[in-house]
């Protein structure tokens, strides 16, 4: 097969463009890592770009010796684990029930759920509700209000719908009840979709900050994202935004911020190469719906 000269030029050009795109995509990460190992004076004079200057690990030691950092980091882990468990439980039972054709009112219930994707109560009524329920300054304000993602539920529902019904019928004849069928037959066959959903939820909880920002004002309850937010808030003038601890943290040096960012991304970065294919499969499942 002959290729035209222009196409050959294009191919070289194309590889270059993609390399530039990837460089730009990764550059902010590289820059943060470089700054985290650099000394403050080099950063302040704007000399740290691709590589660390004035290499040191003292900033890491400084951040890692801050007990509040550890408390907040532990909170993030707790919120992620508890939130993911609650979300998975509710999403799975909801999706399973809605996937059954014999369910009376199935269509109505699905619309009832899907409607909430397109019309939400809005910030203020949510805020009033969470406070009225007494969730403010508790973990529940973080893990309950967003427990079911309807999008994830629909992905699971369509997965369950595509399972061969004969399996469940056979199990029913064998004397298994609905709970038994779900636990012993359906779930073991749904490992792929469960893995995807766990990752979707876990990443969302790990990254979440806004509900913690508006519902928590005790430092000991903050997730690490708020610890970080209060640090970076110092850089933009006038970001008073209700943060109780932002004010006494305004003069945080750039290398400390970078270290905190690196330590927050690290868990995601380490599992990322192994789990990203599940994310992609999740998106595909969602689009088939």
């Amino acid at each position: 097969m002959k290729e035209s000269k222009q196409y050959k030029i294009f191919k070289v050009f194309n590889v270059c463009i993609l390399l530039i795109i990837i460089f730009c995509t990764l550059y902010p990460f590289i820059n943060v890592v470089a700054q985290s190992f650099s000394s403050e004076s080099y950063i302040n004079s704007g000399q740290v770009n691709l590589f660390p200057k004035g290499f040191n690990v003292e900033t890491y030691q400084k951040v890692l010796s801050d007990t509040m950092f550890w408390i907040n980091y532990k909170n993030t882990v707790v919120y992620t684990v508890v939130g993911t468990i609650i979300s998975m439980f509710l999403t799975t039972i909801f999706a399973y029930a809605l996937s059954k054709r014999r369910l009376v009112g199935r269509r109505f219930l699905t619309v009832f759920a899907v409607f909430t994707m397109f019309f939400n109560g809005g910030l203020i009524p949510n805020y009033v509700l969470i406070n009225a329920l007494g969730f403010a300054n508790t973990m529940w304000a973080i893990v309950i209000p967003g427990a079911i993602s309807i999008y994830n539920m629909l992905i699971m529902k369509s997965f369950f719908e595509n399972m061969p019904e004969e399996l469940e019928e056979a199990a029913a004849i064998d004397g298994l009840n609905t709970y038994g069928i779900l636990l012993k037959i359906v779930l073991p066959l749904s490992k792929a979709v469960i893995a995807t959903m766990v990752l979707f939820y876990a990443v969302a909880y790990w990254n979440s900050w806004f509900s913690a920002f508006i519902y928590l004002d005790k430092k000991e309850l903050f997730p690490v994202t708020i610890y970080l937010r209060n640090m970076i808030a110092g850089t933009t003038s006038g970001m008073s935004a209700g943060a109780t601890s932002a004010d006494n943290l305004t003069q945080i040096s750039a290398n400390i911020k970078s270290v905190t960012m690196v330590l927050t991304i690290l868990p995601i970065l380490t599992v990322y190469p192994f789990v990203q294919k599940y994310f992609v499969s999740g998106v595909m499942l969602g689009s088939i719906k």
């Binding site: 995509t25 899907v114 109560g121 009524p125 009033v128 790990w206 806004f210 927050t264 689009s287």
Partner: protein, 338 residues
């Protein structure tokens, strides 16, 4: 009950025609009966299959309290609300708060900003994944393709707080972007304090975050295009550019149209959390959008009812946009969300 009254009216109108009245009456009885029996069958179904229905209990309670509860909570937009007072406000004030924001010049500025920012975001964030997917599609080396793809998803998995941190770091006076700017112009720009730069910064970061992830669906659509079409085109002497124009693009057109319509539907829902983290009073002129404004009015100034009115207005516009986009999508591509 309803059925019976309509039945009664029909009887009155058709007075004198005995036969017909009887027919109507029996129809009424029939509907009541079917209604009753439908209710009965539902009950029997639930009783027989109670385990399946029991699975619905917790999710439905969740939806009612945490999704539908706040929707009803919007009544405070029509009532005076005192922080710490009754959850549904103190007294009715009608459209007082709606009139308030219609006469509020700040509101119209943030409304304009929302439209502009949403528009530019759509203009740049929508085509970039398509171009990226098309470029990636021309790469023959599987390894290189996989590497580029994997790297391009990465920003999608970061917390907004981290992204904001990176934006602030890169645009800082001593940041990398200013190093380049200084090299060429000899001067530094304080990007983050400048209203002129806000939209550029925001949209660039949105593209950075979403391009790779957004390309997934297009790449999947590209793999479904029949190879024999390309073979035939080659025999006809079409070069690669013509093949792309006449085979590849039409092949992914349904995906493009569907995603475009979905994007238009959600175009008001701009990254509120990100703006909240990177804007500041110096850039409000361009950076303040409806959601950030209502956040400040509501949670910082404790003007709950006023903020709720703005929020309700925003939600309704959003819903109308989604519904319109969806019905257009159904007509054009026979694909819709439900």
């Amino acid at each position: 009950m309803n059925q019976q009254t309509t039945g009664g009216v029909t009887i009155k109108q058709k007075r004198g025609v005995l036969m017909e009245t009887e027919v109507v009456q029996s129809q009424v009885n029939k509907t009541i009966k079917t209604k009753r029996s439908r209710f009965k069958t539902t009950l029997t179904a639930i009783r027989k299959d109670w385990q399946l229905y029991s699975l619905l209990v917790l999710p439905l309670i969740y939806l009612l309290i945490f999704k539908y509860g706040p929707m009803l909570g919007n009544v405070i937009a029509f009532r005076r609300y005192m922080p710490g007072g009754k959850m549904y406000g103190e007294q009715w004030v009608g459209l007082y708060y709606f009139e308030m924001f219609i006469n509020d010049p700040v509101f119209w500025n943030v409304f304009k900003n929302t439209l502009i920012l949403g528009g530019i975001t759509l203009l740049f964030c929508f085509p970039m994944p398509i171009i990226f997917a098309l470029l990636l599609n021309e790469i023959k080396s599987k390894k290189f393709k996989k590497f580029v793809q994997t790297a391009s998803y990465l920003p999608h998995f970061l917390s907004i707080v981290i992204i904001a941190g990176m934006i602030l770091q890169l645009t800082a006076l001593n940041g990398s972007i200013n190093a380049i700017v200084e090299f060429f112009t000899g001067e530094k720009i304080s990007f983050i304090q400048s209203p002129d730069w806000f939209r550029t910064i925001y949209v660039t970061s949105e593209v950075w975050q979403g391009m790779g992830w957004g390309a997934i669906l297009y790449l999947a659509a590209l793999t479904t295009i029949d190879d024999s079409l390309y073979e035939a085109a080659k025999i006809d002497g079409a070069n690669r550019w013509k093949q792309t124009w006449h085979i590849t693009i039409p092949g992914i057109l349904p995906t493009i149209v569907t995603l475009l319509i979905l994007n238009i539907g959600s175009f008001l829902a701009i990254g509120f959390e990100k703006i909240l983290l990177i804007y500041n009073p110096l850039t409000y002129e361009t950076s303040d959008v409806i959601s950030t404004y209502l956040y400040r009015v509501g949670l910082e100034s404790n003007n709950f009812s006023y903020a709720a009115a703005i929020g309700l207005f925003e939600s309704i516009i959003g819903l109308v946009l989604v519904l319109t986009a969806n019905s257009i999508s159904r007509k054009l591509t026979e694909r819709s969300l439900w």
